[in-house]
Amino acid sequence: MIEHIEAALHRPNFIAFVVLFLWGFFIMITHPNLVKKLIGMYLVQTSIIFLLVTVGAKKEATVPILQGSDATGSATHQIDPADYTNPLPQVLTLTAIVVQVATLGVSLALVTAIYQKYGSLDEDEILKRIE
């Protein structure tokens, strides 16, 4: 148990991820207000994206835009992969962010439609009004 916590403490990013993920998860499931639920959802999704970027980070490395290419775009010298951060997680992240915003758009459309119909954003109140 102690060593688990110790292992985690060496990764502040990971702790931030865990906190954001669990808190967002909790709000998303339990909060009665629909918009707050969506804020929780947003936090959950960003926390996972955050973890994904963290996986791709490299110490002593710079952004993955290759240096030393001449005007025609051919490399002027040998490229050392250790100099640049890992591009693949960043690509997955870009995809995930766009997917997240798409989901947000649809969910907000649903919420707006619910408000037009029932005049409330509170789940309990809406259920009350249905009956």
Partner: protein
């Protein structure tokens, strides 16, 4: 919900900002291969420049009419993207294998791939810009179709 903003400062600033945003969006779109940015960011910025117009000048303004016209192109971006991919099929390669694009004046594979990336970025940008505007119309409950009597 959305109505024309009556503050002169906001209106003038937006008038100045909108073309600037569009210019920057085009820069980001075209230089995505050399620096950060690309289709997604460029598309969202193009979209937001029009969204700013809708929010500031209101749903009756010419800016909004332009945006409404734009939403009729829903799907064009994806057709460009998938079309470039499909052209590679015709060229004899796999789907999205840009080195098989039949572009007459480009002969090296890597340059074809470069052009393929550029074309598909434009597709992505168009799609995202159109969709962002379309979602904003939906969420703000503005009727996007002007010929609603058909």
């Amino acid at each position: 919900m959305i109505h024309a903003h009556d503050s002169a400062i906001v209106r003038t600033m937006s008038r100045l900002l909108i073309p600037l945003i569009q210019l920057f969006a085009l820069y980001v779109l075209c230089f995505g291969q050399y620096g950060p940015g690309g289709g997604f960011v460029g598309g969202v910025m193009l979209g937001t420049s029009l969204i700013l117009g809708i929010l500031v000048f209101g749903p009756e303004s010419p800016a909004c009419l332009v945006a409404k016209k734009v939403t009729h192109g829903d799907g064009i971006g994806l057709i460009i993207f998938a079309g470039v991919g499909g052209l590679c099929l015709i060229g004899g390669g796999e789907f999205m294998n840009y080195s098989n694009l039949e572009i007459p004046w480009v002969d090296t594979e890597s340059h074809r791939r470069y052009l393929g990336i550029l074309l598909t970025q434009i597709g992505v940008a168009v799609d995202i810009a159109v969709t962002a505007i379309s979602i904003v119309f939906s969420l703000s409950l503005i009727d996007a179709s002007e010929e609603s009597h058909d």
